[in-house]
Symmetry: C2
Subunit: 403 residues, 2 copies
């Protein structure tokens, strides 16, 4: 392995060399203290770029635009707004997304084809273009503007989700920001995540590495089982670290993948733990599965179960719900082989319930991170998924979202 | 068609000729006013019997017992308890289920092979057999005991779910009871449902008819997406109506199927509308789908979406969530062809949002039954699914279920 991976204090999407960002309040969201709703991410050097998007068949206009532009493998800026998803908006939505890209391109002085677009917010409303035209002119880019950009993409998020890591003696840095909260059950990505790196990376490897990282991170979180129309993960690599371009099999490939995985897992856990109404992070590990697809499906089904989530919220040691969820996951399981742990306490061995100290289990369920693990004893594959508890607050937030 | 179908006032599972039932409080559930937790359904004549069970790979002991006995196509009694699911209980659970069947057989004076068993309640606890041994001796059967039996299978249900219908000049009657509430996303059945008829029915036809009826009723409801370990639908036909045995193609086959469908849809809607914490029934109809499987999947995905459910609870006209749900359902849809209605008001035509009067939509969302329909304009298949809104009360109920 080439070099160790170290998190950067207060790291964000502008931590890698050559990236700048900025944001403003354009008036798309309701005005509250300190609110931002429109931002730009920009690299001073052209980047190779890869993206992963929602598998929802109803795709927002900005997703359609990104998917049209990314086959080139190139981009230099991203413009993003919150407060309006620009989804289910027909031809008008596509025209608006293209205009937003053009306005951002003028602002940063590049051609429109170099700009990608993302939106998050209410579905079925068109973008307030007058506000956006005025707003984009107010965006000022800076070298630590990643923090502002993160604020501009938050909706019901309660905490910013930012991270950066450097590899070895700062050979290169990878940074990222994300937003999550509701409608989170990504099928190829989470709501919005922007990743940057100053590493020089071959485009083919970049695409593969991003897919791999998303599969162990964003594709393993769930807040509510609802997959968004706007899910977008973008990774821009500008090469300013000056390394030999990384490609499949090159000496930095492994450490790049590891660093990218860790960045994505960090952000994915932030998204899960800050789900709408959430009080704690649930981490479900399924091991001993016959294959990786089975391990992933079983872990994600358990972490998505509303009954498991509600039990964790209430500190209720109702482990039968974990068994019921894995049983309905579609994965072949043999009841008499299953071991079930909450924390490191075994509650079921070989399918049979063991006596347990209720207070001990309740204490684990009330901690900020709740580890649940299932050993299927059928094979060797292991996967981990992350989610959050289900509280009354989730219902309160989502029963009056547009009113 | 042979004869019209009429609902029987105060009809229940003992409305068909020759069926009796009774229940008692054995002490399995916590004592509250009027609570019952153990009951028996009995036919004075031997029955042909069909059953449909959970597809969860973790199956409760009573489900395993029923699946072992039903290939014979014969049964004469059902014994059922609430308060303990007898699921994830290993060999002990199977032995207990067999003993419960034997005790019930002694009580009603038939051989144990004629008894089917069902349980509902907490997973992972063994049956309190001392209480059940004493309890079964107290069960007294009567000709209107269906109402008592329904009470004995309720858990967090707030309303009994009972129905009966007679065909023509009382050629035959079909009766049914059900319980639902939580962990409701049946894959072949709902939590528990017992159906009786005095019609003479050929066993092959009975099995097919029950499957067909379940597919348009119980398999189209969802409360929370969690499929139970104990889902059981049983149909016993004792032939005391004295009709020519009904088989595929015989003159009463159509009307029997129609009556059974209506009975099952009635009970399924009761289960959906009385979901844990529910305030209103949501009815989602998808038409213009390319095939029936697609119509069913799309309807069920929309009615299961926690975000759609929360919006209905809050009276929030956030129709974009309906579009997002159908888009992630896995069904091939073309956004620009979709029409969306809430009640009879069109909100989306050809994928484009229409202006609407918010107060009108809010009024529909606040009514006891909320109809949502999607026209995909791709084919001719139509399916309807039923669910309920998602309230804080669902979380409250499920966060302290075992404590």
């Amino acid at each position: 392995m080439e070099g160790k991976i170290e998190f950067v204090p207060a790291g964000t999407v502008t931590s890698p060399r050559g990236f700048r960002a900025g944001a403003t309040y354009a008036g798309i969201k309701k005005k509250t203290n300190d609110v931002l709703d429109l931002g730009i991410l920009f690299s001073e050097a052209p980047c190779v770029a890869a993206g992963i998007f929602t598998t929802n068949r109803i795709k927002a206009a900005p997703v359609v635009l990104c998917q049209e532009r990314l086959p080139s493998g190139k981009a230099q800026a991203v413009v993003v707004n919150s407060g309006c998803a620009n989804a289910c908006t027909g031809e008008q939505g596509l025209a608006d997304a293209a205009e937003v890209a053009e306005l951002a391109a003028q602002r940063v002085g590049i051609s429109p084809e170099g700009v990608l677009v993302a939106s998050t917010g209410v579905i079925g409303q068109t973008l307030p273009m007058e506000l956006i035209r005025a707003g984009i002119k107010q965006v000022v880019l800076s070298e630590d503007g990643g923090h502002e950009l993160e604020k501009a993409i938050m909706t019901t998020d309660t905490l910013p989700k930012e991270v950066a890591a450097k590899v070895g003696e700062s050979q290169f840095i990878i940074g990222g920001i994300a937003k999550g909260s509701g409608m989170i059950h990504p099928d190829l990505a989470t709501m919005l995540c922007f990743l940057t790196t100053d590493a020089a990376v071959d485009i083919d490897f970049l695409r593969v590495a991003l897919k791999r990282a998303a599969d162990v991170s964003f594709n393993m979180v769930s807040v509510d089982g609802d997959t968004s129309t706007n899910d977008t993960v973008l990774l821009l690599a500008n090469g300013l670290a000056g390394n030999e371009p990384i490609s499949q099999g090159s000496k930095l490939a492994d450490v790049f993948q590891q660093a990218l995985d860790r960045i994505c897992i960090y952000l994915a856990k932030c998204v899960a733990g800050d789900g709408e109404g959430a009080n704690r992070l649930i981490e479900v590990t399924v091991s001993g599965a016959p294959g990786m697809a089975e391990a992933r499906l079983a872990a994600r089904t358990v972490v998505s179960s509303p009954l498991v989530k509600a039990a964790v919220y209430g500190g209720d040691p109702n482990w039968g719900r974990v068994m019921a969820a894995v049983g309905r996951s579609g994965v072949e399981v043999v009841e008499s082989k299953i071991d079930l742990y909450i924390g490191n306490i075994c509650l079921v061995r070989g399918g049979c319930p063991l006596p347990f100290n209720k207070e001990e289990i309740v204490a684990i369920l009330r901690s900020p991170e709740v580890p649940i693990s299932l050993q299927l004893n059928l094979g060797t594959a292991t996967a981990t998924a992350w989610g959050c508890d289900l509280s009354e607050e989730y219902v309160v937030i989502n029963s009056h979202y547009t009113t």
